[in-house]
Each structure stands twice: as C-alpha cells, then as structure tokens.
C-alpha cells in the first residue's frame, strides 16, 4: 500500500490565525518539517510556556502562541506551526514558573529566552556592529535547513599520530589588512587562505571558539587608551549549536551555516581536518548579576551547578558552571557534538577546561564521569578526536589522570613547561625532557603517546616569539594593571626585554624558535603549533590577549616576507615529520630490538654515544630512532639522530655507529644560518665525519642515517 500524502501535514489547531498541530518532542529545537516548523523545548519546572515569533529584525514580536496543555508531554513542550517563512522568522520562548533563587529557580516571564538548540542565531550578525541595547530579545534563534550538499566529503579520519595541528582564531587569521582576502575575518576569508596552510604542511586546524558568542559581553573601553576591549576570543558560549554569525561574510543573510560548512568541505578537500575548541564548562549568562539569555530562564536548576543557597558555583572562573553531569545537560552536550560531527563533518573537539566535565552536580570530581564515558563510547563520535584541556579554574589538574576510556587525548601542559624550561637553559630537566620527547610514557603508560597533544605555545600565554623576547608578561593593554594572565611563563628574553636591534640577540631568538620547532616536530605524540608562530607573530609580551580586536591578535601577513627564514624552517620541519614515520608511533617505545635490526627502537646518547649524562647539571641530550622500528615496526624509515645542546657553548657529540653501509647526513642544524639550518627532506647534506658532530651552543642537530 502506498500513501499519496501524509495526513500530518494538515493543522489540527488554530491560534490567532496561526495553524498548529501538536509537535514531536524529539528532536529538541526547531526543525523544518513538511508545511511548517516543529518547535520543542524542555523545562522541568516551568508552569506555562509560550512560543514567541518575530519577523526578522523586528523590535516587537509578531505573535505569542501559548503551548496548549495537550501539547506538553512529560516536561517537553512541542508544537508545529504551519506556514512560516523560514528565512524571515526568529523565535524564542517565554517561561513562567517560580522565582525562588534559594531553591534554584529564576523564572521571569518578562524575558524572551533563546532556544538552547538554536542552529543559527541572529542579533550579532555583523562582527562589532554596536547592538541596540534596548532590544527585548538580543540573541535570536533562527531557522536553518540542514540540506547541505557534501558531495563525497566526510570526516578525514587521519590517524591522530599523523596530525600536525594548527591552533587558530577565525577572525585573527585574515582580519589584518595585509591578508588581502575579499572578506577579512570570516570563514570565507580563511577559505581563501587554505593554500597557505597547505603549503605550511599542517593537516589539522583547531579553531578557537566558533559557537555563537557575544563579542560585546563585558565590553568596556580601555581606561588608558579608550580602545574598546571585547570578548574577542569567544570563550563564552551563547548557543552551542550555532556557528558564530559575525564570523560569516554572509551572517547578515543568515547563511553562516552554509559558509562554515563550505569551509569545512574545502579544508577536507585539501587534506586538512577541523577540530573545534568547545566551551561546555560555562555559558555567557555569568552569575546572578549576568544577563538572562536562555538557560537561566528555562530551567536554572537543571543547567547550572548551584550552591546549597542557590548561588552559582564558579569552577570556570567566569561566574557560572554548566551542570554537565545532570542527565539532561549531558544529553544536550551529546546532541550538540553529534550534530557538529554529523551535520558539519567536524573531525574532533578540544574541550576547554575539561576537568569540569568530570565533576558531579555538587562540583566533586567523579572517578567515572558519565558524560566523558558517554562521549568516548558514542557511535556517531566514534572517529572524532576528543582532546581535553585537563584542568579547570577550580584547582582540578588532571594531566596524566584525565578519565580517558581509551579515547581521550590531553593538552600536555607538562610537555609545554618542561620543554620551555629546557630551551631557556634550566638545569635538572634532562630526565623529564627524555620522557616528554617520547610521548610522556610516565604520564600515559597505558594510553600511548597519542594521548599527548604536545605544544610549547597556545592561545593562552606567550606566542613563540614572545617566549624568547620577554621575561615577564606585559598585559597593561588589558586594563587590569597587568594583574591578569599567568606569571609562570618559563620564558627568557635572550638579553633584552622586548624588540631590539641587537643582531646577536635577534639571531639567538630566531635560533631558540627553531630549537622549539625542531623539538616539537621530533617528539612522539601529536604536535600543535600556534597560529603565526611560524612567522614570529608577536603580542608585544601580552600573554592574555583575549580582549583585543587589533594587531595584538591579528596575523600580520607581511611577516611572511619579513621572517621568511623562520617560515622556511617551520615548513621543512613539518615536512620532516611527515616524511618520517619513525616520529609518529601509535604506541610507546619498548627500549629493545623486536625486529632484529640490532638496535633498540630508541636509544639514548650524550656527548658520548650510548652514554647520557642524566645528572642535574646536564643540559644535553641525544637520541636515535631505529628506522626498522618505525610505526612500531610496521613501516621502514631512515635512522634518525637528534642532538639537543641547551648548554651555552658548542659541544662535540660522538655519533652512534650505523648499520654497515649506512651513513649519517645532516638534515637540521639550528646554529647555521638559513638555508643551511635545514635541508628539505630527501636533500640532506652528507657528513664527512661519521664519528662526531659539533653542535653549537643552544642548538639542535638532526641527522638522517641512510
């Protein structure tokens, strides 16, 4: 039997001219259905719920339609409204219920509330356009068609050990006038610059927050300069299901969904994965003095961790904490990530302050957090990379102990700290650096090196250039008397605080940056580079530039020429990593020979071959990777020898003997000027002396045996 037409495309109810029908409770949010739109919203304590419809941009509602009693199932109100113009409709909800903060309830029927499942959000359509502060409904849920034509695309599923991640901010990448793109600061602008990323050799971008946020949250003029300080980075979510409208050149047309999907598709076409930096630890509503945008008015007690007195727990350092292990919130997070994975083909997620996701509803750390377990085992997220920032602002530090379920990787903060200190010449680090270079088996014995996202710099803290140019942070421009930002930077200015004309200091700084790039690229685990470090981007010593929509954050494309030497080094160093599977093992070294090559998979050396000075006073370490043990013995590679001399004088290193017939060739020597600092993979320079190599002070040498 076939049915010509479904009967549920006809309305059964009417309210003030709007044709209605009882909706479906799932999926939550607004879904375009034949003839109309299905709206579904949850609240466990609301007594009355009203759908509020606006014509796009209108100051006052077009209509307010109360959900009839029979449209509620359980705690979910759902309704189909027929005949809406999907492009020109904005919607929200009014919820009535108790206002009793001491019991956790903060209902306020004067507020129009945004749908937490909104797939697109208007109100901040064009970045930086000053909002009308008197609007009754500032962040407006809108409707989208999930009809994108992906053609042959899906997630790339690149093995995580093969990734080179590039952490970047969408607006910062092309907003600088020197970018030369048609639509600066947008998804479309980033798309125009894909050739640069491909040429650099990275194969994964990690985008700082792209969920809808309010750049005007907590905006204020800098008392000293009058310049507007903003919520520029966006670590404060307004809507978890909606891409930032102001990051889209077509945001004013409500086409941010198409524009962002087009960017993802094109990145994939170029072999580049997309990881989103997601902020599920708190929302943009702040504490009891913050705005009521959505969650607070929908079901405060469900969505937020509250103290027994009804105030907001503040494990995030931003005023509130999302109640992630409440079953309803947990499902919302899961729905959200599934949506981004399935609908946007996102390859992975990096969870901001992820330790919060492992706390129970009273804030106590859980040994078996249901949310983290659910994400790890979810069928739709099964191939997505899951990366935790394994700490929070409440003092929970879980690097090495984050509940992983065989899936989760971590930002390895200990890698960053140890490598920074080693590079600046601190003593007593050779032992720890040995662990960090091989994927931190001391932290991830059973999880393998791929649990470790290795980084020396990230958006928080100094850029690489500033790490070698400043001893101290210089955050005056943030307007907080230099009190904000971290103080433990493990940085060294090489002899002068800030920019200098001294050629000796500048040469040392360049060499230190190259040392950092070299160490990062030969470490087991997953390397992450901060946008612009490859061209020595500076924030003038500001180590917390979250509030600046200016050159402090923007990528200056003139640096490509100015620092072409460093860029070339990065490019070839990334190429070196891609060329050598021995650097990209899935599992830890076993320190023995299990393929019969006569060499263990990794061996340790010093100025004397086979002999490391592990003592506190040592600043020298070398290691050799056996090419027959590449990818845990499944691939063949050259032998690789890496000598790290972080002592200030040059030292001769005795080389380990290669198998008969092989010879050492010079690939990298950071003490040499460009282009002798690095040879393109495959074009290494043969070494005359096969027994010793002189490694300059504060320099890295990498040899290839073949």
């Amino acid at each position: 039997m076939s049915v010509a037409e479904r009967i549920d495309i006809y309305p059964t109810h009417e309210y003030e001219g709007f044709k209605l029908r009882p909706g479906r409770p799932l999926p939550f949010g607004a879904s375009v259905v034949p003839g109309g739109v299905n709206f579904s919203i949850f609240s466990s304590h609301a007594t009355v719920c009203t759908l509020v419809l606006f014509e796009k941009g209108a100051p006052a509602p077009l209509a307010e339609i109360p959900f009839p009693d029979e449209f509620r199932i359980g705690n979910v109100f759902s309704m189909i409204v027929f005949g809406l113009d999907y492009e020109n409709t904005e919607y929200g909800f009014r919820m009535d219920g108790p206002f009793a903060p001491e019991q956790g309830h903060r209902f306020d029927k004067t507020k129009i509330l945004m749908d937490p499942y909104a797939k697109a959000i208007g109100g901040r359509d064009v970045w930086g356009d000053t909002p009308d502060w008197n609007r009754v409904y500032p962040h407006r849920a809108t409707l989208v068609y999930d009809d994108f034509d992906w053609q042959a695309d899906r997630q790339l599923e690149t093995p995580i050990e093969d990734l080179v991640i590039y952490e970047m901010h969408v607006r910062s990448f092309t907003q600088h006038p020197s970018s030369g793109v048609r639509n600066p600061g947008t998804f479309a602008g980033l798309r125009e610059k894909i050739p640069y990323l491909k040429d650099l050799g990275i194969n994964c971008v990690e985008l700082m927050p792209v969920y809808e946020f309010d750049e005007f949250e907590n905006s204020r003029p800098n008392p000293a300069t009058g310049e507007m300080l903003m919520n520029y980075w966006g670590y404060s979510t307004v809507g978890f299901f909606a891409p930032k409208s102001g990051f889209a050149a077509t945001g004013r047309l409500g086409m941010q969904v198409d524009e962002f999907k087009t960017l993802v598709k094109d990145l994939h076409r170029n072999g580049i994965e997309v990881i989103l930096d997601v902020v599920f630890n708190h929302t943009a509503e702040g504490n009891e003095n913050g705005p009521t945008i959505s969650f607070r008015g929908l079901d405060n007690k469900t969505y937020y961790m509250l103290t027994p007195e009804g105030y907001y727990f503040n494990f995030s350092g931003t005023g509130n904490t999302l109640n992630c292990n409440h079953p309803v919130v947990r499902n919302m997070v899961l729905d959200c990530l599934r949506y981004w994975a399935a609908e946007y083909h996102i390859d992975g997620f990096r969870f901001d302050l992820a330790a919060i996701l492992g706390r129970d509803q009273n804030g106590a750390p859980l040994t078996n957090p249901p949310l983290l377990e659910a994400l790890a085992h979810d069928p739709i997220l099964a191939k997505c990379k899951l990366i935790a920032e394994a700490w929070d602002a409440g003092g929970l530090y879980q690097v090495g102990s984050f509940p992983a379920y065989g899936r989760w990787a971590e930002w390895n903060g200990k890698y960053r700290d140890a490598i920074r200190r080693f590079i600046k010449g601190d003593e007593g680090l050779v032992g720890e650096v040995g662990q960090r270079l091989q994927g931190s088996p001391d932290l991830y014995a059973f999880r393998g090196p791929t649990a470790s996202i290795n980084f020396i710099t990230c958006h928080d803290g100094f850029t690489l250039n500033d790490l070698v140019s400043y001893n101290d942070k210089h955050n005056e421009a943030n307007g907080e008397d230099n009190r904000d930002g971290a103080n433990d930077n493990n940085s060294w200015n090489c002899g002068w605080e800030g920019p200098t004309d001294d050629p000796g200091i500048n040469a040392l700084r360049t060499r230190q940056m190259k040392n950092a790039a070299a160490m990062l690229m030969v470490s087991q685990g997953v390397p992450m580079i901060l946008m612009g470090d490859e061209v020595a981007r500076t924030q003038l010593g500001n180590n917390n530039a979250y509030c600046h929509d200016n050159e402090l954050n923007w990528f200056d494309w003139i640096l490509l020429e100015k620092n072409a030497d460093l860029l070339r080094f990065f490019k070839n160093m990334i190429g070196f990593r891609h060329a050598h599977p021995a650097l990209r093992n899935r599992w830890h070294f076993s320190n023995r020979d299990y393929v019969g090559s006569g060499y263990a998979d990794i061996t340790w050396h010093g100025v004397a071959a086979w002999n490391v000075d592990w003592s506190d006073g040592s600043r020298v370490l070398a290691f050799m990777l056996c090419g027959k043990h590449a990818k845990n013995g499944t691939a063949r590679d050259n032998y690789i020898y890496v000598a790290l001399n972080m002592f200030w004088d040059a030292l001769p290193f005795e080389l380990p003997r290669l198998p008969l017939g092989m010879r050492w060739n010079m690939s990298v020597n950071t003490s040499m000027p460009s282009p002798e600092d690095i040879h393109e993979p495959g074009h290494e320079a043969p070494l005359n002396d096969q027994n010793h190599v002189l490694v300059g002070g504060r320099s890295v040498v990498i040899l290839v045996g073949k």
């Binding site: 113009d85 999907y86 492009e87 009809d147 198409d258 999907k261």
Partner: protein
C-alpha cells in the same frame, strides 16, 4: 521578481529580474523547472537580479540538480558582485559555470 524567457538556437535564456528571496524563489523555481527537458541548455541571465537570499541560492542549486539529472547544462551570466560574493562564500557558486554577459554564455554553449 519577473522571469523573461527567450530561446537562442538550442539555448534557453531565462532572465531573472528583481529579488530572489523566500517569497519569490518558489515561483522562480516552478517557472524554470518547467523549462528543463532532456539535455536542456539553460542560460540564467542574472543581470537584472538585485538581491538573492538563502532561499534563492537553494533554488539555484535545485535547478542545477534538475538540469544535471536531464544531462543538460547551465551557465550563470551577469551576477552583480554582491550576489557573486555571497554565492562564493557559501559554496553555491562552485557548481556553476559563470560568465559576465549573456553573449559570453551563448558562446560558451557554442551558439
């Protein structure tokens, strides 16, 4: 929104004038789909189109799919920069041959 249809040799030239938005796109869609037969050669003249919304872009892609299913061909002519930029940023332009004038389009079709 108005659509004017002309035939030059084996090419159907459809000129869309005005605005293509949520109200007008369904109308344009109906009219243009009617023009698509087997191996249709359709030249969409956008010279007089002043505005296109998300619904308009979707209509274009739908027309493309219909023509493709009929083993035909489609060319866009005379897009104003604002519309070209929007279609480019959102990926819709990737599906189309784009030319500046109707004559260029006819030439590309070999007329």
């Amino acid at each position: 929104m108005e659509i004017y249809v002309d035939t030059v040799d084996y090419v159907t030239v459809a000129s869309i004038v005005g605005e293509l938005d949520g109200q007008t796109a369904p109308i344009a869609q109906d009219q243009i789909l009617d023009l698509i037969g087997p191996e249709a050669r359709i030249l969409l003249d956008m010279t007089g189109l002043q505005f296109m919304s998300s619904a308009g872009a979707r209509t274009l892609l739908l027309i493309y799919r219909h023509i493709q299913a009929n083993n035909g061909g489609v060319i866009l002519a005379g897009l104003i920069p604002e519309i070209a930029d929007m279609l480019s940023a959102t990926g819709f332009l990737d599906y189309f041959e784009v030319v500046e004038t109707v004559d260029d389009g006819l030439a590309l079709f070999g007329v």
